[in-house]
């Protein structure tokens, strides 16, 4: 009986996995067909023989590797910056008492309730005023101080770091930065990994911000480049699908890397000392 229910469970999970993975496989397969094949009926659900031509066409319609690198650069820089700034800021909120601390924290939390779309125009105007339109910096830097990130890490610190621990480090003679670096950071790894993955995916998938900020094609990111070629009357779908598939690979790798960290951290924290 228990055996049977286990088989059932696995069947359900397997179906779930298949449904989730189908679009990815579909995209991958379409990347190997010509435009004509893709539109044939029934659709060709097998590996085609047009991969190399699609690849050549992809490089023809956009500087694919440059664009991929741009996306990667922005996502990596943004993720590192966000993890660093948010954790420092959260540490400040957690470990120090200063006048107006609760007010500032409250305002920061309140800012999360403003829909991002509303900030599009003000942020565009600000970036224009600063003269950094059409730069990658304008894409990854402003998001580094994320209210959500600070909140997430601040809350996690509350659960994983006791005040005695900070005091013990102080008594041991650690400087403020040393406490942050050697004591706090290692203990909030799971929260950092969570934040990193959220920020990374957000930046990688971001379309709206690059659309209004970037104008030179050689600075385009993947989302923008893949969208821009679709306006051509005869969209080269095979090439676009190949590009789309390739653009998913780094995300997959990033996820595998960070989720590993998340797991490590979670199990290490589970039995607290």
């Amino acid at each position: 009986m228990r055996h049977l229910s286990k088989i059932g469970l696995h069947a359900v999970m397997l179906i779930g996995v298949l449904i989730t993975i189908f679009p990815f496989v579909w995209v991958a397969l379409m990347g190997t067909h010509t435009r004509g094949d893709i539109y044939s009926s029934p659709p060709p659900f097998y590996v085609g023989n047009n991969l190399l031509q699609n690849y050549a066409e992809l490089l023809d319609i956009m500087p694919f590797w440059t664009v991929l690198f741009n996306s990667l650069y922005i996502s990596v820089m943004g993720t590192i910056a966000a993890v660093l700034f948010c954790s420092m800021c959260a540490f400040g909120f957690y470990a120090y008492n200063f006048k107006g601390k609760n007010l500032i924290f409250g305002i920061m939390i309140a800012s999360m309730m403003v829909p991002p779309v509303l900030m599009l125009i003000p942020s565009f105007l600000t970036l224009k005023y600063l003269g950094i339109l059409d730069t990658h910096f304008a894409l990854w830097f402003p998001g580094a101080a994320s209210a959500f990130g600070i909140f997430l890490i601040r809350q996690y610190m509350g659960n994983s770091i006791t005040r005695d621990l900070l005091d013990a480090a102080k008594v041991d003679g650690a400087s403020d930065f040393r406490i942050y670096w050697s004591i706090v950071l290692p203990l909030i790894k799971p929260a950092l990994a969570t934040l990193a993955i959220v920020i990374f995916i957000g930046l990688w998938n971001n379309f709206l911000a690059p659309l209004i900020i970037l104008s030179s094609p050689d600075k385009f990111v993947l989302t923008l480049a893949l969208r821009s070629v679709q306006s051509i009357a005869n969209s080269p779908w095979g090439a676009i699908m190949l590009g789309t598939f390739l653009s998913m690979v780094p995300l997959l790798l990033a996820f595998m890397f960070f989720s590993r960290q998340m797991m490590d951290g979670l199990t290490a924290g589970a039995v607290k000392g």
């Binding site: 005695d164 650690a174 924290g269």
Partner: protein, 355 residues
Amino acid sequence: MSSVTLKNLSKSFGTVKVLHDLNLDIEEGEFVALVGPSGCGKSTLLRIIAGLDNATSGDIWMNDKWVNDFSPRERNIAMVFQSYALYPHMTVEENIGFNLRISGLSKADIKSRVSEATDILDLGQLLDRKPSQLSGGQRQRVAMGRALVRNPDAFLFDEPLSNLDAKLRVQMREEIKRLHQKVRTTSIYVTHDQIEAMTLADRIIIMHAGRIQQMGTPTELYKNPANVFVAGFIGSPSMNFLHGQIQTNQGKAQVLLPSGATIDFIDRGNLPADGRVVVGIRPEHLEFATAENRDNVFEGKVDLIEPTGAQNHLKISVNDQTLTLVDTSLRELNIDDTIRIHIPVEKVHVFPHSE
């Protein structure tokens, strides 16, 4: 090693004053216990001495240096926390060596000093374990090791044993005492366990509501408590108290109880002008009356018998008051038995009524 001196030290949190004008002198190498009920300001005082908190007013001197503005590191103190506060992500070795690493010692130096400390504390087998893989007593020892390894000028302990079970507590108490006899570092030890304080300390400071009530050796505090609070705090079971009025009868100092009975005592001075006093008698000083006893003999009824092995604690009701008596003779008694008890006149404490 260093001496610690506090002058008119006060601390307020907002409008709440938790420490009132403390004055204190701790000598080099001394082991001082700080005891008092929960919330009396022991931890606050310790944190101020450590440099983790600032005093609102007053001065702190260590070795004739004014250290109010010094960081914990500059004061060169080590502290053991009630929660141990070990770094969960570091091994035992890294935990103990952390402050040496901050000081920039070489790897070899760190290793030898850590192993010196772990040898004393018998932690040699556990160097590669994380705190989560240790028992409570082992964690406690690691916390001690972390303090010990740096040869501090003073040890500060904040209830280091209160998370351990009774047996381990006694064992660790002995280890701490032995350790102090070996290294002779000035130590300030916060506890609310009077037995711990009595057994460990050269001197005990009793605090209540942010004020020092009395300082002295354990024996002094037991024999000559300065006030009702200290008298009730030191000694177990705690002292019996009776309210009354002093009077003189044929040249003998007496306390007249509301019931009309009188207790003779020896007048050592310091009696209040209005004559309202509290009489204190330790349970272990109450005894069964014999035929020779003439004065301070009372008749009472046994209310309750609590055997503790070597002695029985008897609750005896005398004229509507309940007195506790420690009976080391383990006399066979039954509830409601009528017995006669005697209070030796030289063991009667008399305190002004004020508190």
